[in-house]
């Protein structure tokens, strides 16, 4: 059996459709026991705010915005978890660390860790992202 591979995810998006896709990818990484570092950048930090994350009505769609209701309805019908549930479940199954970019937090009026959802581990600078990206086997920007 091979050793656990590393994934580095630069998560720029704060849109519910892309966050859901990121959640599905994270689930695959969790099934594969990957070590995952997520760096939450600009728009992403807004979605990770405690008062926003769980409320899809506060998040937009990156594509086909006029079909958001249909999209959300369809996910529900198919028994698909919310993006936050995907992230939390992945974190419970494998080593997932969620790092919030300090600048991004401030842009959205949140500079303390406790203003973000519980799965957020720390607030960091971009240097950490670069190091993690250099060391990762899989690099993604969503």
């Amino acid at each position: 059996m091979e050793t656990n591979k590393k994934m580095c995810l630069a998560l720029f998006t704060g849109s519910v459709d892309k966050l859901t896709a990121a959640g599905v990818i994270l689930s695959g990484a969790a099934a594969d026991d990957m070590n995952v570092d997520i760096y939450v950048l600009l728009q992403g930090a807004r979605a990770f705010r405690k008062d926003i994350a769980d409320d899809a009505s506060k998040l937009n769609m990156s594509e086909n915005p006029e079909m958001k209701d249909e999209f959300m309805e369809s996910l529900k019908k198919l028994n698909v978890k919310t993006w936050l549930e995907f992230f939390s479940e992945a974190k419970s199954l494998t080593n997932v660390k969620v790092h919030i970019c300090g600048l991004a937090g401030k842009v959205w009026g949140a500079d303390k860790l406790e203003q973000f959802v519980d799965i957020a581990d720390d607030i960091v600078g971009i240097g950490e992202y670069i190091t993690a990206a250099q060391e990762a086997d899989v690099n993604l920007f969503i």
């Binding site: 059996m1 599905v24 689930s27 099934a31 594969d32 026991d33 198919l78 028994n79 698909v80």
Partner: protein, 83 residues
């Protein structure tokens, strides 16, 4: 293994992931695998088409033995022996 052999196999754990979509069945398999011992057989019930390819590949990659898949009406059963 043949369908007859698979149907006769002794299953140590069975998870019903029918009604969930990808990545539901894969994660159900991953969780269940953590609860059984090496050499035990896991049965996964799924109605998600992608699972048919996904679980065998995942199982082999993770050092388990994929035993086979049995088609039922509207779903299928995948058998994996834990490595």
């Amino acid at each position: 293994m043949t369908t007859n052999e698979l149907q006769a196999i002794e299953v140590n754990k069975s998870v019903d992931a029918r009604g969930t979509s990808c990545p539901g069945p894969l994660l159900a398999a991953k969780k269940a695998m953590g609860e059984i011992n090496s050499g035990d057989v896991l049965e996964v019930l799924s109605s998600d088409e992608g699972t048919k390819k996904d679980i065998p590949k995942w199982a082999t990659k993770k050092g388990h033995e994929y035993l086979g898949t049995v088609e039922e009406s509207g779903f299928f059963k995948i058998y994996v022996k834990k490595g």
